[in-house]
Symmetry: C2
Subunit: 457 residues, 2 copies
């Protein structure tokens, strides 16, 4: 299928880089379900969303029809400082696995935020600046999104208020410091600075926080401060739109060498990386122009697609956000303390949820130690130390490649390597010391949270 | 001078990448002084050096005449996993500084070791493997070299024993963990595992170690274990040879766009990055084909070129290594605890020392807080969080660019951005908190150590 002389790394020229984001929703027959007002259960109108989000981003959020959105020049300028990201041929991994499969990975970790999150952060900061805002608020768990947003805000001279889940704030002081280098104001959550934070602290003194709680605090801070809006690093339609730059670059690079993938794999937390990577390929599949297998990989400890239900749910703990229809484990579900902070969200992007429900995509879940085993194999032969999140995709890609070795099939596998693991060495240490567990929630446990989902007519 | 449409990042195609290292010594009229036997003060013969170093590397070390050394295919294979590194046009920094100068930087930090050290590590591991050795030993201070060597050894299946300066071992647990992911055996130095370590511990109980001491332990371990040799990440001629890949790529990229630099700047600790970056340009200057200004930037707290003497000195504390003629502050000199661990060596590469002494190169020293100020400015506009070492070059480049703003000159500045600062957040935190000092040794203090230099006829 592929031509000869494929280099280890394919870098596009600046002239080949995408000039527009691709809106996957435009090609979906069944559109993702709309966000609902948590009080009225009616679809959120633009005016309502604009109280929380930047106006231009609300337009992108609600637009299910426009196929391409031009990327503004100011955003392209910044993209050029860290993009194109390389599409890498994993020659060394193929050799190590002794597989006939050809393995490629799109590496999004070659920037200081350490992940793909910067693709959307710079877009969201740009629209906030253009709207004349003073600043933005957000939450961060593992820290990639907070770092990315801090960098983007520093570039445009915006104030950036980050609510960082307290346990991460304390356990990842270096992540926190990176954000401070970029001038961000980082507050451990829950905090005394918001009503929702004070309420949670009063009810659960000593809590180490959660992503859902940090979201609630960030939203409250945005709506109660003049000139601020809230921004989010995953789940939302707008974020998947921005992240389509990953898939568009990947497709251009593959097309250049006449490579057609059979399987495309990505880790899935809120869905931003996977949604971005598969976007143009899924578009072809939806339009009947090509066929691919898409595999979402999630942690066995937080299996929203593989063991959740497709229903409307709250996005945050404080229930201040709109309701979203998604594969969910219930907004109260707190996953076991696994080490892929970016994959610990209870729900999944509405776009990906709809595509999965319609049968366009597969999903698998993998246990934690198997993920770190794959991470270490990958690091040793391919050089790059992967983030725990990204390593879920590595695990699934290796599994597919090993299957090819057994069947003799020469499949072409592409996976998303979303980030680096420099700030996750505590997790690697635990893996080495044999102190990592593989907690998998029981059916009983999952049922308990799913029973508490809001009832929507 | 330069043509239009220069991209933000210039990536060479694989076919344009260097196939041979360039040996700068071949073009030097005054060759660097030979290493001397510390007992006899006679030049070290190959047979003597081969007790400590790999045979092929000894050949490279002693060869002052061969202009090019072919890069073996196995090394090129690995280079392709992290090279070419980008040559970046600092458009955003130029704009921020409002300077007519054009600024470029060769970014060597886009690999898991976080620095340029991997260029030589993979070469040294390859020759060790080819010689049929079991493993190699080395020391590491800041940790970049140890990480790079661990990665290289994992790739070739060699055992890797790293002596890590105790204070770094304790303060940088994550660096240590990265090395363990790559299977290295990491020992805090001084240790009870060597004679020299036990001696130092007995004389200075509670010492936190030094690079000179870790070198002594690594050398002792290499010579007292069958099938092991010692490898070093800087200072040596062979290391500068391997690092010429930085300068060769840089020159090819600049030539492609018709860009001729006026000033080339690099930070200088042992000299491996600077020597590699300037190699092909210095070659042109030595051959009278072109002229450039070269600036070595060192910390004001460890000013070997700007305030040291050019003389034979010990390379290590235990005095087990050969004597090298170099700009030195004396092998007993312990610099103030600044945060650029890679620039805290008392001496400088013999090649660079000779070139500096012959007037082909300038040197400046910069105080620590001014370095971090430049680092933070750079991070905010160019995105990349730089290593403290690399930030010395940033400081000098910004100073030159500001001078251009004042004079109106449109100079072309190229500097080496050797690495990333992800593992240096303690230093950034100190800078933020105003707890960073700018200790500069007095003349009296320097004299004291220089007086103790060995007397060589």
């Amino acid at each position: 299928m592929s031509v000869k002389n494929i280099p280890y790394k394919i870098y596009l020229d600046e002239s080949e880089m995408p000039k527009a984001w691709y809106n996957l929703r435009s090609d979906m027959k069944n559109k993702p379900a709309p966000l609902l007002n948590p009080g009225t259960h009616k679809p959120m109108r633009a005016e309502e969303l604009e109280q929380v989000f930047c106006s231009e981003l609300v337009k992108q959020e609600l637009d299910n029809d426009t196929r391409y959105f031009s990327i503004p020049g100011e955003i392209l300028d910044y993209y050029h400082t860290f993009r194109p990201s390389p599409l890498c041929r994993a020659y060394n991994l193929e050799k190590y696995l002794d597989t006939p499969a050809e393995i490629y990975y799109k590496f999004e970790g070659n920037n200081t935020s350490g992940s793909h999150k910067l693709n959307s952060a710079i877009a969201q900061a740009y629209y906030a600046k253009k709207q004349g805002l003073k600043g933005v608020t957000t939450e961060t768990g593992a820290g990639q999104w907070g770092t990315a947003l801090s960098m983007a805000c520093a570039y445009f001279g915006l104030d950036c208020k980050v609510f960082m889940v307290k346990v991460s704030y304390e356990q990842k002081p270096f992540r926190r410091e990176v954000m401070k280098v970029y001038g961000a104001d980082v507050t451990p959550s829950p905090s005394e600075t918001t009503n929702v934070g004070r309420k949670i602290l009063a009810e659960h003194p000593g809590t180490t926080g959660s992503l859902g709680c940090a979201i609630s605090e960030a939203v409250e801070t945005a709506v109660s401060n003049e000139g601020y809006r809230y921004v989010l690093g995953s789940v939302l339609n707008q974020v998947l739109l921005h992240q389509s730059v990953i898939g568009l670059e990947t497709k251009t690079a593959l097309d250049k060498y006449g490579i057609k993938p059979d399987i495309i794999i990505g880790c899935a937390g809120g869905g931003s990386n996977l949604g971005g990577l598969i976007a143009p390929f899924m578009g072809e599949k939806l339009r009947g122009e090509a066929d691919y297998r898409f595999i979402a990989v999630e942690p066995a400890s937080c299996p929203s697609l593989t063991r959740g239900v497709y229903a409307y749910d709250f996005c945050d703990t404080g229930m201040v956000c709109p309701l979203a229809k998604m594969y969910t484990l219930g907004s109260d579900f707190i996953p076991a303390p696994n080490h892929a902070g970016g994959l610990r969200y209870h729900g999944m992007s509405s776009i990906l949820s709809q595509l999965y429900d319609d049968g366009y995509m597969e999903a698998v879940s993998v246990p934690q130690t198997a993920v770190f085993e794959a991470a270490e194999q990958f690091a040793r032969v391919e050089g790059i130390l992967p983030a725990p999140e990204s390593s879920h995709a590595i695990r699934a890609a290796i599994n597919e490649a090993v299957r090819c070795r057994e069947t003799g099939e020469k499949k072409t596998i592409v996976f998303g390597l979303t980030g680096t693991g420099y700030f996750d060495m505590v997790a690697y240490e635990k893996y080495h010391d044999g102190k990592m567990d593989d907690y998998i929630p029981s059916d009983e446990e999952l049922k308990k949270y799913i029973a508490k989902l809001p009832k929507i007519d």
